[in-house]
């Protein structure tokens, strides 16, 4: 039983990090537009995030340094500062999208005005972060977020063409608009590997006081948690492929995602989907608010950690509060949270190398890692995914322009 609770960090990171509003939006839109054709991109994304989360968790456990410590040390102050600014902007944009997503999910559940729910959402997030212990945040949002598994049931009930599903795991592009297809590949990879996931994961390892004895838990967290996230992504994509693709529906809202569970499973399916979305997106909002605070504190050498009181870590506490307020201010201007999500995912792709390269370097540094440095297998995967990340980082902005943000 204790082991089950111990993998909560990975499940939270997966549900609240992997399956955040960016994933929900991109996977559903990808299934509606390209049916099963992009399932393979989710596999690549899951592989990348498992590889780098395991690596940065191991670095955190062994060196007691979280991801941004490594970024600053490896890139130096100047370049590190640039990485910090880029990372924080992406974090903020993502947080704004997640806060908007919470309000949208609440609106679909309760029918109240969006702006009122935005205020409720940000106050509730602030209260939860302030009052709830780290472990309970993981458990509550991670496990209730598992209600999203309703999409897996819905996908099966829609009787997909399993041969078609299987062919989706082999990269191929049966489309007249290659730029839009490639834009979605970048979006899916970006949504799966957003930098805040590794910032949160590595800092979480220190919050949880992991020691080298917990390296097995670290590996299990990364593999089980993100694989579960990948399964949910498949389910969202298959549901959209079955329900929206044949009807030429282009889903543009969270309501469309909810309808994906409503049609095959009725009212109970809808309610479970909306509750799952609410908790997954809330978990992601907490992850991003914390990530922003972790990055600042680790870069400037402040005291940090949820396990410390506000008096013990005042600048860290102030940082997550400011993140929440800024995220709220962005989304309360009236921008469409779904559009903010799309931009945040694409810009996060551009910022990816600044996060992933230092992690790979530190994980290979025997002065830091001793016997826990990367072995051959970790490096093969690490380098392969780094090349993928570099390619998508270079291609992201041109594809965004050429494909007209996926509009063709």
């Amino acid at each position: 039983m204790k082991k089950i609770f111990e993998i909560a960090l990975g499940i939270l990171a997966a549900i609240g990090g992997f399956v955040d509003i960016g994933d929900i939006v991109f996977n559903t839109a990808a299934g509606a537009l390209f049916q099963y054709q992009l399932l393979w991109a989710v596999v690549i994304g899951v592989g990348a995030i498992i590889t780098y989360s395991e690596m940065c968790g191991r670095v955190a456990v062994v060196s007691q340094r979280a991801a941004f410590d490594a970024v600053r040390e490896r890139l130096g102050f100047g370049v590190g500062l640039l990485a910090l600014v880029a990372g924080q902007l992406v974090n903020l944009l993502t947080l704004a999208a997640e806060i908007g997503g919470i309000a949208l999910a609440l609106q679909l559940l309760a029918g109240l005005p969006f702006r009122v729910l935005l205020v409720i959402a940000v106050l509730a997030m602030g209260l939860v972060i302030w009052a709830m212990p780290f472990e309970w945040i993981e458990r509550v949002f991670g496990y209730i977020g598992l209600a999203l598994l309703v999409f897996a049931v819905g996908a099966i009930k829609l009787h997909p063409d399993w041969g078609g599903v299987a062919s989706g795991f082999v990269p191929h592009a049966d489309t007249s608009d290659l730029a839009v297809y490639l834009f979605f590949v970048v979006g899916l990879l970006g949504a799966a590997t957003v930098p805040y996931e590794v910032y949160f994961y590595s800092s979480g390892a220190i919050e949880e006081r992991w020691t080298p004895k917990d390296l097995g838990i670290n590996k299990a967290n990364a593999i089980i948690g993100y694989s579960l996230g990948g399964l949910l992504s498949f389910a969202l994509m298959i549901t959209a492929a079955e329900l929206f693709y044949p009807r030429e529906i282009s889903p543009e809202t969270l309501g469309s995602v909810g309808l994906g569970a409503n049609v095959p499973l009725g009212e109970i399916g809808l309610l479970l989907a909306l509750i799952g979305i609410l908790f997954a997106v809330s978990g992601a909002a907490i992850d991003t608010a914390f990530s922003g605070a972790y990055n600042l504190a680790q870069f400037f050498g402040w005291e940090w950690g949820k396990y410390r009181t506000a008096v013990e870590a005042p600048r860290f506490t102030l940082a997550w509060m400011v993140m929440l307020i800024l995220g709220f201010l962005i989304v309360v201007t009236g921008v469409d949270p779904i559009q903010v999500t799309e931009y945040s995912v694409i810009f996060s792709v551009v910022a990816l190398p600044a996060t992933y390269i230092p992690i790979l370097l530190v994980a290979n540094d025997r002065a830091y890692m001793g016997n826990y440095a990367n072995g051959g297998v970790a490096n093969v995967f690490g380098i392969f995914y780094l090349v993928v990340i570099l390619v998508v980082a270079v291609a992201a902005i041109p594809l965004m322009i050429i494909s007209n943000m996926g509009q063709g």
């Binding site: 839109a29 609106q107 679909l108 559940l109 309760a110 029918g111 329900l243 929206f244 009807r247 030429e248 529906i249 282009s250 889903p251 543009e252 809202t253 309501g255 469309s256 909810g258 309808l259 409503n262 049609v263 009725g266 009212e267 809808l270 309610l271 909306l274 469409d336 559009q339 799309e342 007209n404 943000m405 996926g406 509009q407 063709g408």
Partner: protein, 115 residues
Amino acid sequence: MACGSSSTLTAKSLQQQSDAVKSAAAEGALLAQQIAHEETTEPFARIHAGELADQAKAAGQSLTVTRAPAALQAEKRKAVAAARATSAALEALHQAPDDQAVAERVERRLKALSQ
């Protein structure tokens, strides 16, 4: 995904807006079906029907504010009319999200508009 507009209507943007309207109609038909079968919740039906009505309305407005060359005038008029009809049907669903009779009527209308 977001829809764009320009001051002069092109065949491509006309097609995109027309597709956006058909998409809203097709999705609205699914939602109406759920309401007709009492298989959804009132807040979800009301909010989502409103979102879809706004989508159709935005596509129609985007078409209205653009100048169409002579060759596209007839197609544009048809698309604007479809956008208005779709938006009106979805608005009816938004106003009566738990009325099965309205939902059945709207479902038939939206299915036709989505073709």
